[in-house]
Amino acid sequence: MNIIEDWVGIGIPEDIIAQACTWIVKLDDPDCSTETEGAFLSWLERDLLHQWAYEELAELWAKAGSIDSVREGIAVGIRHSSETVEAGLRWWESVTVIAIMTAGVLLGIINAST
């Protein structure tokens, strides 16, 4: 399944898509219980559309977390975000230092004049 339409659940009713998304997320949790797995299997067997939705969206879920450039792109995004945060902190640190120095000078001037 290499064409995008093959794994986005095209034509499947939205309520079933939403249910499939919920199950994929629950099953993806390493702490998923056997009760949850059992409930999922009951849901899966109930309707052919459930099976199609699950098969296709599970592939999208797997691809979204495993393609190298996605991981690299996200890593770059994280680096950019952290750089932005660090740059922001550096700016605030500079402002704080200047403010303290200005306050010190002003206090010195006030003390000197009194």
């Binding site: 995008i4 339409e5 986005v8 034509g11 052919l48 969206l57 999208l60 979204a64 393609i67 996200i74």
Partner: protein, 185 residues
């Protein structure tokens, strides 16, 4: 159980497969397509199964039949999504599919680009939880503790992320189709 061509080709085997799969297929396909389209899909499905079985054995023939029907239905739905379909566009699609089949690398690059863009367009809270789970491998409980939110909220964010990724890819696919259609004119 393996199904050999000579078994399948008997009238009895054909009747058994159709009686087992047709009602469920019909019921499911009718929720996506019109009655006449469903008839077309079913006819094409059983024809394809018949042809494939002349070439090779099929393991789990019922599951295979359901997947073939779904793929044929997807092709029909794609056709409807493209309102400006022309002969030139079909040729373009066939060339695209052909060239993609020739090069797995170009397919992967295309998918990577689409997915990267879709992930970048997720809302900040969704993206944060998605990255924590899918990239850093944290469990739902660990993410909940890290972000001081409930496990239920973590699951809601992840489910929302998956739905939005899907929607984003569908929209990009439709946009791509319209662009290629205009370029072909």
């Amino acid at each position: 159980m393996m199904t050999r061509p000579r078994d399948f080709l008997s009238d009895e085997a054909i009747a058994t497969l159709i009686s087992k799969t047709r009602p469920q297929l019909e019921n499911s396909l009718l929720r996506m397509l019109s009655l006449s389209d469903v008839e077309d899909v079913l006819q094409d499905t059983y024809l394809k199964i018949f042809l494939v079985l002349q070439q090779q054995s099929i393991d789990n023939i019922e599951a295979f039949t359901y997947r073939v029907a779904r793929n044929i239905a997807i092709d029909k739905l794609r056709q409807y999504q493209r309102q400006e379909t022309t002969h030139r566009q079909i040729e373009h699609d066939l060339q695209l599919v052909h060239s993609r089949a020739e090069s797995d690398v170009s397919v992967q690059v295309h998918l990577q680009t689409e997915l990267s863009l879709a992930i970048q367009s997720l809302p900040a809270s969704c993206r944060q939880v998605f990255i924590a789970r899918r990239i850093h491998g944290l469990s739902h409980k660990e993410i909940a503790e890290l972000l001081s939110i409930s496990v239920k909220t973590v699951e809601n964010h992840l489910s929302k992320a998956l739905k939005r990724l899907r929607q984003s890819l569908i929209e990009r696919g439709a946009k791509e189709s319209r662009t290629s259609s205009r370029e072909d004119r």
